[in-house]
């Protein structure tokens, strides 16, 4: 695998950077996927905060949660500095406002609408000099797309444009606990450069939060399953002990 030559975008999450052999290859568009309560949003926010602290302007596009609420939750983190928001190093965008601005307040998008949306996101990334982007969630956007072809076009187009700008992108994908595969529509996982699966593992009545890197183009990486803890100093990761377990989602 081509470990040399690809610049890394360090997530700042020590355990994850080790798993990824130094970080996410810069410019990759990756899918963080999992059911609710597995830590997807928390980990993505930490990725952005560390980026902003390292001087990389970072942006969070929220579809499902109000930015104010997200910021409120982030205040509990020791590493979070509200100045990052005041200085516009960390930006929160409400996608609903973009929909209104673009006249996309509709339940179903056409291919043309998809392209308008992608161009708007790319325009913001370009103009604001964004180096790290999180879209939470891609599932909510794909919900408005009527075919797998549209979903494919949306993610391909978005990923290509952002990669050309050197922006490392996390697309959050919501999974039902009973889902098979790594994404709701089955298309997202095939197109993304990387897949990080977050889940719940039941072991003798205990429910453990887990993380596993399924694929990551441009780097060698561990494919083992790890346990994670969400703490005030950020996400911590430990190896999953091999003791016999049953997966629940």
């Amino acid at each position: 695998m081509a470990d040399r030559g690809r610049e890394r975008c360090k997530t700042g999450i020590a355990g994850l950077d080790n798993i990824l052999n130094g970080g996410i290859p810069r410019g990759n568009t990756i899918l963080i996927t999992g059911s609710c309560g597995t830590g997807k949003t928390t980990m993505s926010l930490e990725f952005l905060v560390h980026g902003a602290l390292m001087g990389e302007r970072s942006m969070y596009i929220s579809v499902t949660e109000a930015p104010e609420k997200l910021v409120e939750n982030m205040i509990t983190y020791d590493f979070f500095d509200k100045k990052l928001i005041d200085d516009k190093k960390l930006l929160f965008i409400d996608l609903q406002e973009i929909y209104v601005k673009l006249g996309l307040e509709k339940l179903e998008f056409t291919l043309e609408d998809v392209n308008i949306l992608v161009e708007q996101i790319v325009k913001m990334v370009k103009e604001l000099g964004i180096k790290r982007l999180v879209v939470d969630s891609i599932t909510s956007i794909c919900y408005r797309l009527t075919s797998k072809e549209e979903i494919r076009e949306f993610i391909l187009h978005l990923g290509k444009e952002l990669s050309d700008l050197g922006c490392t992108t996390i697309l959050i994908s919501e999974l039902l606990p009973s889902a098979r595969g790594y994404s709701q529509y089955g298309v997202e996982e095939a197109i993304a450069d990387g897949i990080i699966l977050m889940g719940n593992l039941e072991r003798r009545g205990d429910l453990l939060r887990t993380i596993q890197v399924i694929k990551m183009r441009g780097t060698t990486h561990s494919r083992a399953k790890y346990v994670l803890d969400l703490t005030s100093i950020g996400v911590l990761i430990a190896p999953l002990l091999k003791g016999g377990s049953v997966e629940v989602g």
């Binding site: 020791d78 072991r203 003798r204 009545g205 205990d206 453990l208 346990v227 994670l228 803890d229 703490t231 005030s232 100093i233 911590l236 990761i237 430990a238 190896p239 999953l240 002990l241 091999k242 003791g243």
Partner: protein
């Protein structure tokens, strides 16, 4: 010399980042804790990260108070209070884990403390390998101890594993022999 002095003396012989299993009887148990928490940790200005699966952390703190042991440098990772329905609000000095079977979370809570309180070195106490063995099989326990001891070395922390002599089985002996640098047997008559 008494038990406390002997245990301190043994600990003083260890290079930093060492792991030691201390096998003790019930009568010497508190002398061992005094040696590690009160004398050794104070003398070397170490934090104490106390992982308990035997006695709820609040009870240990109360006992320390009764014994005149300063517990201000002690941080508890408590795996038993939830089972006893005694867990109170989480704070850094009292971190609760739902069950002694959640071994990965014990590692993660110790790592959390080691990362957050990194201005001093630490001694990690695991109390006890016997009570943890009630809830966990020998294979997963060995794996857990091996990873914990190895990761603590990278934090330059001491590791003290308490074992109760009367409850030690052959598999516990083998496990401690495998993962610890030293085994110290406290003699009751010391």
């Amino acid at each position: 010399m008494g038990v406390t002095a002997n245990v301190v003396s043994k600990l003083e012989e260890l290079p930093s980042a060492s792991s030691i299993a201390i096998s003790t009887g019930v009568n010497s148990y508190f002398d061992v804790l005094r040696a590690v928490v009160d004398v050794f940790a104070t003398r070397h200005d170490l934090y104490v990260f106390y992982v308990t699966s035997t006695i709820p952390s609040k009870n240990i703190e109360n006992l320390f108070e009764l014994l005149g042991i300063d517990s201000s440098r002690v941080f508890f990772v408590d795996t038993i209070s939830h089972l006893m329905k005694e867990a109170s609000a989480m704070e850094d000095r009292f971190l609760y884990i739902e069950s002694p079977t959640m071994l990965e979370y014990m590692m993660l809570k110790v790592e959390y403390l080691a990362r957050k309180y990194n201005d001093k070195k630490a001694v990690v106490i695991l109390d006890s390998v016997n009570s943890m063995s009630i809830y966990n099989g020998p294979k997963i326990m060995s794996e857990f101890l091996h990873i914990l001891v190895t990761s603590l070395r990278s934090w330059d922390a001491y590791m003290v594993i308490i074992s109760m002599r009367d409850q030690n089985t052959e598999s516990i002996h083998s496990m401690l022999n495998m993962v610890c640098d030293e085994i110290y047997d406290v003699e009751e008559g010391e």
